[in-house]
Symmetry: C2
């Protein structure tokens, strides 16, 4: 029943999604630049992620190697779903509309979306 992953924890996940398994030290190293977190902080976050069931570890000698148990993809799917449900009753169109307004989707983006939608339409037959 993997609980909520917080903002800070997400950054740790992202490091692990970029590469895994990793030891705590390595995760900390990769995050140091963006976050300035101490190794201790990263270890705490890793532990909490393990508790929450989002990360697993295997023992390698005296150290732990951490791996995500949830794929970035499935995490993204759930997060997107939650946002859509909360804000747009699960509808995609208004969500895209908002994206378009706020970000100014590029022509390429629009093209890509058009193609994607064509595909989805075809698949739904």
């Amino acid at each position: 029943m993997s609980k909520q992953i917080t903002k800070a924890e997400f950054q740790v996940m992202d490091a692990l999604w970029a590469q895994s398994p990793l030891a705590a030290t390595d995760v900390a190293e990769r995050l140091a630049n963006d976050t300035g977190w101490s190794l201790k902080t990263v270890k705490t976050l890793l532990s909490r992620l393990v508790e929450k069931g989002a990360v697993s570890h295997t023992t390698e000698g005296r150290r732990f190697l951490y791996s995500p148990k949830v794929t970035r993809d499935s995490y993204a799917r759930r997060a997107t779903q939650r946002l859509a449900d909360q804000l747009f009753e699960g509808r995609a169109a208004p969500l895209v509309a908002h994206l378009a307004e706020s970000k100014g989707l590029s022509k390429d983006d629009l093209q890509e979306l058009a193609v994607l939608i064509e595909e989805l339409k075809r698949d739904s037959n």
Copy 2:
């Protein structure tokens, strides 16, 4: 720089977005069904929202009438933006793809999206 609106606070906002201005009692009444929160809880949340700058109040006699200072639309825009930035480098296409996969966009949804995208394309010229 109105701070983060939490999940519980969001529900209060949603009540105010549905109708405003409202007195605390009325907000509580509207939320009672979904949340079971006591009036006290709702009042606390309203106060916090005022502190955070998301809600304003005017005095009407001895009671407050609360109104959202942020529109649901602009809140949605920012939330969507944040999600897209965090998960998809701001790109809409993968976001829609995830929605499609997780929710199974209906044919109508797809049609609506296609139309929307045509519009956006036209606008971007």
